[in-house]
């Protein structure tokens, strides 16, 4: 039955060429923007769900600045003692950076002493005694730093330190090999791999140069003049908000002449919130665009379909008088809508790829996976059918007597 109806629908559409083209064009644009917007949203959502590899809910950080290197040891001892005294604190350790906080040491590494085999630009986490354990990173091979692995920081990092690297980084540096006891060269010194951790994201995943979020290295280091002022606190997740509040107060009281960085002295959860704020805003904006766009398209379809129904009252009446059922009339408008939307979708897919190519060159976005196209198509087909339903029902309700009544 349906196949029989396509011919007359096509014939009618040919007589309304301009309107058909305009509405198909609108659907094509909507399809193209929809596919790309969904793709952008997926990218943002994926970025926001990055695994930090640390026990985020149980960790907080304190950052103080504005003191001299000569005061560092004394200040360090005072602040650590004050933080330890905060009820509910399970551990306090010195740390160089935390996930979603300010970046720590970022440097290029090479895989040979001569500096010929470039490994990449990676983030180094300085970790004082206890920090690795407090972070809760999962060791998958090798060992955690032993007490005598912690050496003072001379220039940015300790010299010839043992390090822990992530699984991703190990696979990147030495594919298929055992990374333990391998050596890395960076910052005029070299490092020996003693352990592999499952995950540890760089402090600012997704920001800066394109690289894997897990390109981090943990360097055990002894707090001292060149490594002071940043602390990692661990408490039970329920206590953490209060612990962080008390910890900030304790630091203000203990170190009144140093400056507490209130923005950075937060629970890791809060830092994560702030870090992805712009991504969340952008995601919401994209969703708003999609809703507005689908709404506009639906209204356009309703408007045009209503007009066609009104214009064809007599013809509908004639068909009804000649024996067409209400269902036939309803299906006629549904098929008509399906055909127009299909034309739009085909054009829209081509347009979607064109837009994606443009985005790829201008904004360095990856290629649009083909999987987004059927999603866009289905959404628009459903939208078209829903939008045409009301006008089509109105058409189906036209009585056969309309054929002989004047307009």
């Amino acid at each position: 039955m349906g196949s029989l109806q396509i011919q007359p629908v096509l014939a009618a559409l040919r007589r309304h060429r301009i309107a058909t083209i305009v509405i198909a064009l609108e659907i094509a644009l909507a399809c193209a923007v929809l596919c790309n917007a969904c793709f952008l949203i997926a990218g943002r959502v994926q970025a926001m769900h990055v695994q930090s590899g640390v026990d985020e809910h149980a960790l907080g950080t304190i950052k103080i600045e504005g003191f001299e290197a000569s005061q560092a040891n004394d200040l360090n001892a005072r602040v650590m003692a004050a933080l330890h005294a905060v009820p509910g604190v399970q551990s306090v350790s010195s740390i160089g950076a935390v996930p979603f906080g300010e970046p720590g040491v970022i440097a290029g590494v090479t895989l040979d002493a001569a500096g010929q085999r470039f490994g990449g630009v990676v983030d180094f986490y300085l970790a004082g005694p206890g920090a690795t354990k407090a972070m809760g990173v999962r060791l998958v091979a090798g060992r955690l730093p032993a007490p005598d692995d912690f050496m003072p920081v001379t220039q940015i990092v300790p010299k010839e330190a043992p390090i822990l690297i992530t699984r991703v980084l190990a696979e990147h540096f030495w594919p298929g090999e055992n990374p333990l006891d391998k050596t890395l060269w960076s910052m005029d010194t070299h490092f020996r791999v003693i352990g592999i951790v499952d995950h540890l994201s760089i402090p600012q995943p997704g920001a800066g140069e394109e690289k894997d979020a897990d390109w981090s290295i943990l360097v055990p280091a002894m707090p001292g003049p060149q490594f002071a002022g940043k602390y990692l606190l661990r408490s039970s997740p329920e206590d953490l908000p209060r612990v962080m509040r008390d910890a900030r107060m304790a630091v203000l009281k203990t170190a009144p002449d140093a400056v507490l960085d209130l923005e950075q002295s937060r629970a890791i959860d809060e830092l994560r919130e702030t870090f992805f704020l712009s991504d969340r805003v952008m995601t919401r904006l994209l969703i708003a665009v999609i809703v507005a766009l689908l709404g506009t398209t639906a209204l356009g379809i309703v408007g045009l379909a209503s007009f066609w129904v009104a214009q064809r009252r007599r013809q509908i009446g004639v068909r009804r008088a000649l024996g067409a059922t209400r269902g036939d009339i309803l299906r006629y408008f549904q098929i008509e809508n399906f055909l127009i939307v299909t034309i739009g979708i085909v054009a829209g897919m081509i347009l979607a790829y064109a837009i994606n190519l443009m985005l790829m060159t201008i904004y360095e976005l990856p290629r649009l996976p083909a999987g987004y196209l059927p999603i866009g198509a289905v959404v628009l087909w459903v939208l078209g059918q829903l939008a045409v339903l009301a006008p089509a029902l109105r058409a189906a309700a036209v009585p056969p007597v309309a054929a002989i009544r004047s307009l």
Partner: protein, 439 residues
């Protein structure tokens, strides 16, 4: 005649209120979205130094002895920067270095705070036309004497001294007392052009280029002494031996801006720069003599891709959305005009020309455009208000200026006339006889 058409249009629009409202809404929403994003684009991609940015240049050279000949570093090492500055070959020249410093204001009850500090040389203020509310900037003699003086921003002055004239008062920067020589008037260059660098490593996330100017501005020579140990390099090719003290380190960390009045001076400075590099090459300090650049301010901003890709993306999205809205209006207008086929046929039969019918339809589209434009303007104001509430570095200066106000109306009316063109042409082709038969 036009008045008659407008009356006809209003009459016709009143007849089908829902359809009219739909069309106006479509235009208003499309215009609101596009104009919000376009206004932000306009604010972010504007010229931060109108009228003189063509005279401002940013010299770069490649001081890394192991250079692989890629783009030279975005900043200069201490020796190159100071050598070029001391030569005084440009009309004006300013060194720029950024650091963070602990600030205390004696006599106020404020706790010590960390402030971003800009350290530069005396030409900075006239070169970039920095406005002063109180006092003045320091002189070249102050630069030479490492004078303990500073200029503070209007914002910091408000915070420390409740906006009063603080010239002559003292602030403590780390361990040194410096005397306030001047207080800036509110100054908000967009982007903060003299601090722009490293944009190509930011993957388009460049909104930080639109932050506020530093609170404290001190002479370059003074800052190296009072904030010694707190200078961060842009990058290094060997690890500095004393952290935070970079004068003798293999690091780039200083920017040099020069003002060159005409093309001859630009050519002469390029020549001078090449000569300097060649001389340093002869001394064995620089290996690459062919890796020197001198971009104008505008070129430098382009090179750094200062407009955040987020903003560009939103603008493209908004215009795609406007196109969809316009398609919608075209479809609805087409339906509307053709539905009046009988009426148009009658007018044609009574002697109206095709031109007159076309004009009448176009005027109707224009009226929708004006109404949609008014709606769009409200939505733009609303959109910008929403943007101002976002945690963005440039949120504070987002506003609708007169030019964008006019652009909104032009785009709105233009877009709806464009949308009306096709339906009007179609309507004017209506055959009188055919329509009258139906009547």
């Amino acid at each position: 005649m036009i008045r008659y058409y407008v009356e006809l249009a209003v009459h016709s629009l009143r007849r089908n209120k829902v359809l009219t409202a739909l069309m106006i809404l479509a235009i208003a929403v499309g215009i609101g979205a596009s104009m919000t994003t376009l206004t932000i684009m306009h604010l972010l991609s504007g010229d931060p130094l109108r009228g003189r940015s063509g005279q401002i240049f940013y010299p770069q050279l490649d001081a890394n002895p192991d250079s692989k000949g890629r783009q030279p570093y975005d900043m200069l090492d201490y020796q190159s920067a100071t050598d070029l500055w001391h030569a005084h070959r440009a009309d004006r020249q300013a060194l720029v270095v950024n650091s963070t410093i602990k600030l205390q204001a004696p006599g106020t009850r404020l706790p010590p705070l960390m402030q971003p500090m800009l350290s530069t040389t005396s030409d900075f203020f006239p070169m970039f036309a920095v406005p002063f509310r109180f006092g003045r900037s320091w002189s070249a003699e102050d630069d030479a004497a490492h004078a303990r003086v500073a200029v503070i921003s209007a914002e910091l002055n408000d915070r420390l001294f409740a906006g009063e004239n603080s010239v002559g008062r003292t602030v403590r920067l780390k361990n040194s007392d410096v005397r306030i020589l001047g207080v800036l008037a509110p100054w908000r260059p967009s982007p903060l052009f003299y601090d722009v660098r490293g944009g190509r490593f930011a993957s388009g996330d460049t909104s930080s280029f639109y932050g506020k100017p530093e609170g404290v501005i001190t002479p370059f020579s003074t800052a190296l002494e009072i904030n010694d140990g707190n200078f961060q390099p842009f990058t290094c090719w060997t690890v500095p031996s004393t952290p935070g003290h970079l004068q003798n380190a293999s690091c780039v960390w200083i920017a040099l801006w020069v003002q060159l009045g005409d093309a001859a001076k630009v050519a002469a400075y390029r020549h001078f720069l090449d000569g300097y590099v060649a001389q340093q090459h002869a001394l064995g300090r620089i290996t690459r003599t062919d890796n020197t650049r001198m971009r104008s301010l505008t070129e430098w901003l382009d090179f750094n891709g200062v407009v955040p890709s987020e903003v560009k993306l939103q603008t493209s999205l908004a215009f795609a959305f406007l196109a969809i809205c316009l398609c919608n209006v075209v479809g609805l207008l087409l339906a509307k005009f053709l539905r009046r086929g009988g009426e148009i046929g009658l007018r044609r039969a009574m002697g109206a020309t095709r031109r007159a019918v076309f004009m009448q339809c176009l005027v109707e589209a224009g009226v929708i455009g004006v109404l949609g434009g008014i709606g769009g303007l409200f939505l733009t104001v609303l959109g910008l208000w929403l943007v101002r509430r976002q945690p963005l570095p440039y949120a504070d200066f987002v506003h609708l200026d007169v030019s964008m106000f006019l652009v909104t109306f032009l785009i709105s009316v233009g877009a709806s006339l464009l949308a009306g063109l096709l339906p009007a042409a179609r309507a004017s082709l209506v055959e009188p006889a055919l329509q009258l038969k139906v009547l």
